[in-house]
Amino acid sequence: MHEASVAKDLLDLVLAACGGQRILRVGLELGELSTVVPDALRFAWEVVPAGTLAEGSAVDIARIPVRVRCPSCSFTGHPVSIFEGCPRCGTISVEVLAGRELRVTTIEVADHASD
């Protein structure tokens, strides 16, 4: 529901990183547990960068699956769901190692204003 405010923070980040060059593409990692909805973020990204170097840029979203660590048997890997707990020994309340990401990985920028 807060994709517009996420898009604004994202815009600040990529504008700070782009070295004054036009931004063509933004690469994101979005964990399966993140509350951000990919389509809503793409939609917000069509509007939020208007009038900046990121206007018209594409956004690539890579979903990151949930990975957990079991505190009892040290299993590390993908659970069936975070509800099922440890797939090896059934321990509940596993530690979440991955799946909460909301990160910018790379941006693609134009070399010249004319690109």
């Binding site: 807060h2 923070d9 509940i92 909301l102 990160r103 790379t106 920028v109 070399d111």
Partner: protein, 221 residues
């Protein structure tokens, strides 16, 4: 065309501010709670009761996050605690900057307990650390027992959960066992209190828990 590695979290800015808030809270020895739930689960009612029950013993203040109105803030003020109202202007959660902007309105070192009522929403508040010591969830019997399994992130993060509106159980088909089982499956350490903020049933356990948490933070001041 070329690529630039960025590698930063979009939430980094919020997380940094939350860490800054947390340093303030630790330094001043005030225990801070982030109270979260879906709309209407009973956060403000629980706050009113808690303020009434504990304000003779502790110095309590409240930050009210509300999309539009000051109704919740007025209710808590009437119960006897200083309140700051943050209107999120349509936003679905509070963020660390809003908390930081308002921190210096309270003399934090003159407080024992600061409770932040987040915007009623089961999704978004989980993503925004405010710098609190603990997140506490309220689930009400009228929302249905499926909420922990449908909104796992919020329940996963919480330190305690109040199951509120138990006075209505006779009129509902709420499956208490399922709700508690699902919440515990997400979070083994979750302390659970079954309460009615309306009748006061079960609230003593919640107050005792709060007193313990306050004492712990005070002791390390």
């Amino acid at each position: 065309m070329h690529q630039i590695d960025v590698g930063s979290s979009i939430l980094a800015h919020n997380d940094a501010l939350a860490m800054h808030n947390r340093e303030h809270f630790i330094e001043e020895g005030v225990y801070v709670l982030n109270l979260m739930s879906g709309p209407g689960a009973g956060k403000t009612t629980i706050l009113e009761q808690t303020v009434r029950a504990l304000s003779g013993k502790y110095r309590i203040a409240v930050i009210e996050g509300d999309v539009q109105t000051s109704q919740d803030a007025d209710r808590v003020a009437a119960a006897g605690a200083p309140v700051i109202q943050i209107n999120t202007g349509g936003a679905c959660h509070l963020d660390a900057r809003q908390i930081h902007d308002n921190l210096h309105t309270f003399a934090l070192d003159a407080l024992d307990l600061l409770i932040i009522e987040n915007v009623g929403n089961l999704v978004c508040p989980a993503e925004f650390d405010l710098g609190e010591h603990d997140k506490v969830m309220v689930l009400s019997t009228t929302e249905g027992a499926d909420k922990p399994s449908k909104y796992p992130v919020m329940f996963h993060e919480a330190r305690a959960m109040l199951l509120n509106k138990i006075d209505l159980l006779p009129y509902l088909d709420f499956d208490t066992e399922k709700a508690l089982r699902d919440a515990r499956a997400l979070n083994l350490d979750l302390d659970i209190f079954q309460v009615s903020a309306r009748t006061g049933a079960g609230m003593e356990g919640w107050y005792a828990w709060l007193e313990q948490r306050i004492a712990k933070v005070r002791a390390s001041r």
